[in-house]
Assembly symmetry: D2
Homo-oligomer: 480 residues x 4
Amino acid sequence: MSEPRGLSEPEGLFAGVFARGGRIGDGAWLQAMLDTEAALARALERAGLAEAGAGAKVTGAARADRFDPAELGRQATLTGNPVPALVRALTEMLPPPAATAVHHGATSQDIIDTAAMLLAAKAADAALGHLSAAAAAAADMAAAHQDTPMLGRTLLQQAVPVTFGLVAAGWLTGLDEARTRLASVRRERVALQFGGAAGTLASLGPDGPRVAALLAGELGLADPGLPWHTNRLRIVELAAALAGACAATGKIARDVTLLAQNEVAELREGSGTGSSGTGSPGSRGGSSAMPHKRNPVASIAILGCSRQAPGLLATLAVGAEQEHQRAAGGWHAEWQPLAHLLELTGSAAAWCADLLTGLEVDAAAMRTNLAATGGLPLAEHVTGVLAPRLGRLPAHDLVAGAAARATAAGRPFRDELLAAADGVSAQEIDAALDPAGYLGAAAVFTARALAAHRATETGLADGRRNGPQASPAPPGPGPQ
Amino acid sequence: MSEPRGLSEPEGLFAGVFARGGRIGDGAWLQAMLDTEAALARALERAGLAEAGAGAKVTGAARADRFDPAELGRQATLTGNPVPALVRALTEMLPPPAATAVHHGATSQDIIDTAAMLLAAKAADAALGHLSAAAAAAADMAAAHQDTPMLGRTLLQQAVPVTFGLVAAGWLTGLDEARTRLASVRRERVALQFGGAAGTLASLGPDGPRVAALLAGELGLADPGLPWHTNRLRIVELAAALAGACAATGKIARDVTLLAQNEVAELREGSGTGSSGTGSPGSRGGSSAMPHKRNPVASIAILGCSRQAPGLLATLAVGAEQEHQRAAGGWHAEWQPLAHLLELTGSAAAWCADLLTGLEVDAAAMRTNLAATGGLPLAEHVTGVLAPRLGRLPAHDLVAGAAARATAAGRPFRDELLAAADGVSAQEIDAALDPAGYLGAAAVFTARALAAHRATETGLADGRRNGPQASPAPPGPGPQ
Amino acid sequence: MSEPRGLSEPEGLFAGVFARGGRIGDGAWLQAMLDTEAALARALERAGLAEAGAGAKVTGAARADRFDPAELGRQATLTGNPVPALVRALTEMLPPPAATAVHHGATSQDIIDTAAMLLAAKAADAALGHLSAAAAAAADMAAAHQDTPMLGRTLLQQAVPVTFGLVAAGWLTGLDEARTRLASVRRERVALQFGGAAGTLASLGPDGPRVAALLAGELGLADPGLPWHTNRLRIVELAAALAGACAATGKIARDVTLLAQNEVAELREGSGTGSSGTGSPGSRGGSSAMPHKRNPVASIAILGCSRQAPGLLATLAVGAEQEHQRAAGGWHAEWQPLAHLLELTGSAAAWCADLLTGLEVDAAAMRTNLAATGGLPLAEHVTGVLAPRLGRLPAHDLVAGAAARATAAGRPFRDELLAAADGVSAQEIDAALDPAGYLGAAAVFTARALAAHRATETGLADGRRNGPQASPAPPGPGPQ
Amino acid sequence: MSEPRGLSEPEGLFAGVFARGGRIGDGAWLQAMLDTEAALARALERAGLAEAGAGAKVTGAARADRFDPAELGRQATLTGNPVPALVRALTEMLPPPAATAVHHGATSQDIIDTAAMLLAAKAADAALGHLSAAAAAAADMAAAHQDTPMLGRTLLQQAVPVTFGLVAAGWLTGLDEARTRLASVRRERVALQFGGAAGTLASLGPDGPRVAALLAGELGLADPGLPWHTNRLRIVELAAALAGACAATGKIARDVTLLAQNEVAELREGSGTGSSGTGSPGSRGGSSAMPHKRNPVASIAILGCSRQAPGLLATLAVGAEQEHQRAAGGWHAEWQPLAHLLELTGSAAAWCADLLTGLEVDAAAMRTNLAATGGLPLAEHVTGVLAPRLGRLPAHDLVAGAAARATAAGRPFRDELLAAADGVSAQEIDAALDPAGYLGAAAVFTARALAAHRATETGLADGRRNGPQASPAPPGPGPQ
């Protein structure tokens, strides 16, 4: 198996924001197509269908920097895709016996679909690495802050207390679920496409399935058992897993932007100058005209990526309705959105790792904000404490009345409660108003998320060891 | 565990087309919410947190037909959702001790999210049943027609021969992949949501996790370990699996509409009067004004459903960016698209089962259409046969020239080949032009799809036996 | 012209939230189809193609409550749409001579598309009414608060001062733009569809165009000049205008949810008990368990509606690629999303009118929040004031340094400025730190938005007077 | 007014297919941003707010080839967008007095939004040019083939006759509607964005509106009257107009792929070697391995573009919900989809012009296919002819019976009719079965589409003369 070369560097005006995990530009596409052609030549040689040495010769020639994407793009207007021109150019570089091995048995769709899968494998692996770092940071915060109380907020209004540990545990769970799914799709569903002109590999006679298996091995991709040219569920599942990863990061970024508002100030993005490998020099988030600002740049970048995902996912889901043995347009409409979604997911993941590893948590501000509420978010708790003594409904009415008077008059809720609740001591009221006493299962849930995180780590490590596998079922020892 | 009641009958002006597998109307929603409230009362009783008999009393009252959806809907404008009004109405039906068990520990989101999951479980199970019937029919056709040659068509142009068995095998693979994924999501990701006001279950004190586990058991849903109120990846994964099922049926329907064109006439929809349980009386697809027409109604209905899926999937993926502990609008925007997507998937699946079980395959027309091409789709084969003798390039040029002359002059390709290929016998040409000799791995691929189908059946049966399970990892014996 | 009957009442479990402006359920659809059939009979009679009185007889029978949607829905499975069954049922109600006028010249698509346009006209008119009320309320606030300073916030961080008048002017402009576009589409693009079996009206012989014109007149719809059966740009434009209206309301709702956060508290939703015709009894937004909460229910409801629009718009845009003279599935996939988008837009508009007419603006809180910043948002202003004296760069560095020290040490920015800026008086600093002195063109822009609003009102009133018109150009006195 | 430089050449691996009308790559973006900065310097100079000559100096420096997009992209990670780095780099190129004019009064969003509008104007103008050529070709075909009968096809089944002229007229109407809307948006809604830090232009003191007007003039864009920074309806309307143009071309491409199927063969794409300026050398659509194929490459390219539009439109519609005075992520998520949608629309338009100018119409094949039906598509006509004599129902039954027998037995419909219809002459039957006698209003509708086309041309020419204008209403002589 030859290692396919990687994604392009994230160079370009917007690449730092939207392609931070690597670009999928012309160079990356071209190399992935050439890697596929080269692997095919090697597979044909191993199958005895090309002369000895043909694989090495094609592989040697199959370097993207030897080809002119602009010229290939111009010729692509004659056929609707760049493969025929690429095959011609590659063939012309080679001596005749090796040349005949080029593209033998394949059709343009085989090359483009398999190249897309190679790019998907690379991009998914990179994204999984970033998501792993992000999850580790979330787990650290969940563990460190499992007893840090903060205001829970529902419908953008203050509700009852939670812990920041539980908030981080929720982020962690989202990241772990996204990783689990993306790793599963990458392992089981990112696969070779090889079917020839109409999915029968007829030009290889009886050798088609054997060449396909060898080709999959050369590329390090799963052998799907049969061509999937117009069965695009692999693409839909991949796109959904990518969109899921974007969604997991987007939820985190949304929370951070809200908790970093000046009026809330419970979280603050780091300056991005830390040890994160992809970090940039200089301090992030500042504004020269407005020196008081610290813009949540990482969160913004994540949202700038993640919010593009659903539309691209929809495009790819629409595209799955493909005609006969090759779709007229529906297939072509996949290339750009898939590549873009891979880029965006990698970028959101890289930014998320940066965000969470550098996140500044202000536990004091969390406590201060809680205290500033005067205990109103604990009203439910007070009711629960008083109910056994007063009955549920009277307790409720008493607390609601106290809360209303406190809010209307700007007086302490505690005082109103004391005034209203005959025979209840200040100590009891204070205990009921202590957020630390009304956190329910926050610690249990946080611990469970951390336990599940450890299981996820183990599961993903096992999956990486086992490598790619066919799905839904291995072709097995069936008829060949 | 009490069996939640099912989806509504597919009644309504458009329900036969778009909700054939069952409607998710007000009645179904209401019952699912009531089932959740009733199960909670039973769980509380089992946990010792409600008086003996409270569960049965609440369960007895929790019948949708006792409530007025219109009135609940009016009151929902005060809170943004119908649960508070429903809880009030339910409570008023009950004697005081049982009444206090109603909704104890829960928040509106718990009820709506869990109700949605109950509906999802029902709808997914129903859809899986229809998809199973569709897959069985596809498998039968793949087996029956593994040697039936037909024209392969790429980019909506005639290409090289394939078999109808391979076409059906491709449909089968899509259906099986969609079933595998949907079953996996249904088993592992369709789960209880129960977190109370902000995800801590604080009003249940230390009993929250235990009540949650009992509640999950009562409902037959997986216990997620911790609340997922603003981690919506379960919804995204469910939606993607549903959209995948729609895509699998849509691909089939697209092929059928194309192959049923009068000018092609290789397939023809059945009249829908067969034994399919949901079949309707009368003959389908006729047109009184145009008696020659047989409209592909089942395929049209499938496409009418499947094409709505990507947009709904996008809406649900957008919705995953939810704020804090409960989203302001993002959560609410999920209810309708999720229910609609469940309906549409069930309908597409039911129609697909009907379509494939009744499909009329005209193998003779397939052969006739192949023959009518005069062998041009075999040009690639002829080139392959002549290449060893003439050299690859000369063989290609000879065949291309003969094809061009045949097309331009309307003469038989065979005659042009015979005239041009010195020393090649008519017998050799005829053999090269025989579609049956150029089917490559069609039979192998078909057999593999059938083998994978048997493995899928086994896997799905195993999954059903094992029932719901938590994901990504069981909470295990962790801290409680 | 007979007045088509209106939308259904917003009854149902979720209708108060998602269909507050009126539902488009089976009853509304059925009546719209029947209105179309009845108008056709009257048009035929006026054209001399049906016996005298046929129009009145068909119109008398064409009442939705006489038909059973469930039965029609069951029969629709034979044809893929409910029209043939509806035509049969309607015909059976009538004496023979009138019966022959039913559906004469029409095809199912004519009835469904025209019914959809009737529903669109009704729903758009209703939405425009609500949007008009919302715009009036926004204009009132823009005028009332043109001098009310508040914090401008960019990237969810405090930036420089703005006025609430300008914020309201921005909302107003969005509403007015949405209204202008929706009114234009409703007037010019909501039109009759009438083409017969394949768009030629052949069964009417030479009378087709004349009947079409009469039919458009009967229905109060524009005559499109020629059938638009598979040219769906009207649907795309309508959907885009609806999504634009949703977007305008969604922007407002998003701002309100953010400004109503407890930590910001500059806006607060009214209780919804005002004079708004669709208002509900009781106080809105309260939470019995959390008595301190005032949930922004109207904003949430708006976002719950508006966030469903883009996915539906995408579905309708995908659907525009329709085959030949009637699409197989692409057409059918439009019915539900179009009706749903109409409902959601009406609901978002109704909620927005309610939101803005009841919105409580806390100008004092706006000033307090501004003051609490200690003048940091005015740093840009101070730099501008000092620059002429110190030079631009030194002024910038001085201010940035003072801001950094103030933020780091928690000391007043004003004091740091005074200490650093030799020869600048406290009076000058205080003037530079006064938000009222740094509002730029806020008042001008607000006045322009109000002027544009008055022009919009005039333009829309003119449009309503002129009634429906063809587009892109009237057919004129061309060949008939 | 200085002419902004154009879009990039369509160079790149996929640019020939997806960006044929011009690319919007880093170079185009960079130049558009620099054009905006240069125009601002000129506007400031004209307003007396920058020294004489500053405008020319900044304009001279503002050339994209002097800047390094990769370096700007790296620095963009500190701020979330590339403008601050660009401003710094531009400033450093200039002598101090001119340098102070750079970016004065502006914020990053002003530059990016206005640059996007400049790109939109260029791209829309280019697309309108291509659409105009496409419409002209459609009009020519509509006129030339107004009497060419062909099979109408509904639900992908043969229905009743139409004319190819009417088909082309339908395409024409779609193109003209799309052009009208896109031109309207380009003229009225593509406008300057200029608001400074938070939309008040405060740093320009009282001069903001005057500078804005001058800046709009310099750029040739409409002056919107007030900033639209977080009112994104302009973007939504632009995106919808672009998606509408894609939809109009996609409908045509879909029809061509279907009518070019070998089994239908009524249309055939040209070889693309004609005089179209962007045409490519060589013959298009051939397949070396399958010499009989002529792939409909232009149609495929159109569909490859047009099918990406709805998802991008949805992303942009979602993005319209922007917070406060600048959105955190929602704004950023617009840049790529808007640029991509502009590219795709231009490409679809260019391909469509190529497709329609080169389309080969086989009127003989149309007649042959009609004749091959044996008259069944005329059954409705025969019924109409016989009804006055036999009564409507007996006529219908007679014809339906004859059609059923003809289809079942493979006998001529004509013979069955003759045998069944006593007293009806063969001449009468033959007349009823003549497609030319059952074309209804096809010619009238075609003529109307052509008349509307001429009106569209006039309207668009008038619009171009009048240039950009504000919307919804000019700011007029209001307060400044």
